[in-house]
């Protein structure tokens, strides 16, 4: 379903997190922070650069906070990111086009 033909009605204010911050094709950087206790962003992609392949809809509760019992709150988008495997693993022996696809929360991403 595409809404390209439709113009949004002016004057609507979106709540926090309703509009995705990043879009397919954009370059983003995964934050290089190292929380303890619980996380859903693997160590091997921290600080890496990625390309947004898709915006996952609908936005969802922050899953790291969910781990501590927070079942509600502001919802944010998750993004399916693409990262070449040779950028993750020094000396990667496979094809240069081999890549990782992974979902990461908006709260972990910054514009490049």
């Amino acid at each position: 379903m595409t809404t390209n033909e439709l113009m949004p009605i002016p004057g609507i204010v979106k709540a926090d997190g309703e509009a995705p911050q990043f879009h397919p094709g954009e370059c983003v950087v995964i934050s290089a922070r190292f929380p303890i206790g619980h996380y859903r962003v693997p160590l091997y992609i921290r600080g890496k650069t990625a390309v947004v392949e898709a915006v996952i809809e609908p936005p969802a509760v922050n899953n790291e906070e969910e781990g501590f019992g927070r079942n509600a709150g502001t919802k944010r988008h998750y993004y399916r990111l693409a990262i070449p495997l040779r950028e993750l693993w020094p000396g990667y022996a496979g094809s240069a086009s081999d890549g990782l696809r992974i979902e990461v929360s908006e709260s972990w991403l910054e514009s490049r």
């Binding site: 859903r40 160590l43 781990g67 693993w89």
Partner: protein, 194 residues
């Protein structure tokens, strides 16, 4: 960053990129309790008593040693226990008492089934408790007759006690649990173990 800092910053369940050996293509049919454990996780998630992410967090919180030592669903059930305690939905004591009750119930059922199977033929024996509290089987029919017979004027030597009444002590562990949860209980049986 100290070496111990690396241990803290990596969750015990995170594996990506770590050195590892060959992949053994093992699989097994889920045991009934494992299926029930998985169903329990789904039901707890529906009710938002323990959501899926809390379960993951609970498994991570078990720490490396336990995560390595326990199997997949064993980790889940221990994590559930811990989370339920923390949420004050049950206490450790309640769970311990209930576990004893469940174990005893299963022990009795298993024991009953073994006895029923091994009895095979009509048994002359009944369970009894000796005065010292030890449990053993004591024959009521034939031995009593023999005793009264032996006291009779006819005399004991006239009829020798049948061989199958010879006192034999046999032990069956009450439970097969090898996890150390319960000690095998020795039962003295004067029963023909055929």
């Amino acid at each position: 960053m100290t070496a111990s800092g690396n241990l803290i910053q990596r969750l015990p369940t995170e594996m990506g990129g770590l050195p590892a050996g060959p992949i053994e293509r093992v699989e097994h049919e889920l045991k009934p309790w494992e299926k029930r454990c998985h169903a329990l996780a789904d039901v707890l998630d529906y009710h938002r008593i323990i959501n899926t992410e809390e379960k993951r967090c609970g498994v991570e919180a078990l720490g490396r040693e336990i995560v390595s030592a326990l199997s997949y669903y064993e980790r889940w059930i221990v994590a559930f226990a811990n989370i339920l305690f923390r949420k004050q939905l049950m206490t450790p004591e309640e769970l311990a008492v209930k576990m004893d009750e469940v174990a005893a119930r299963h022990s009795q059922e298993t024991y009953n089934a073994i006895c029923k199977h091994k009895a095979g033929r009509r048994s002359f024996f009944r369970r009894a408790e000796a005065r010292d509290g030890s449990r053993h089987y004591r024959s009521h029919g034939p031995i009593r007759r023999l005793r009264s017979f032996s006291r009779s004027r006819v005399g004991f030597n006239r009829r020798a006690a049948p061989r199958w009444l010879a006192h034999r002590r046999t032990s069956i562990p009450r439970t097969g649990v090898v996890d150390g949860y319960s000690q095998p209980i020795q039962i003295d049986l004067r029963i023909d173990q055929r």
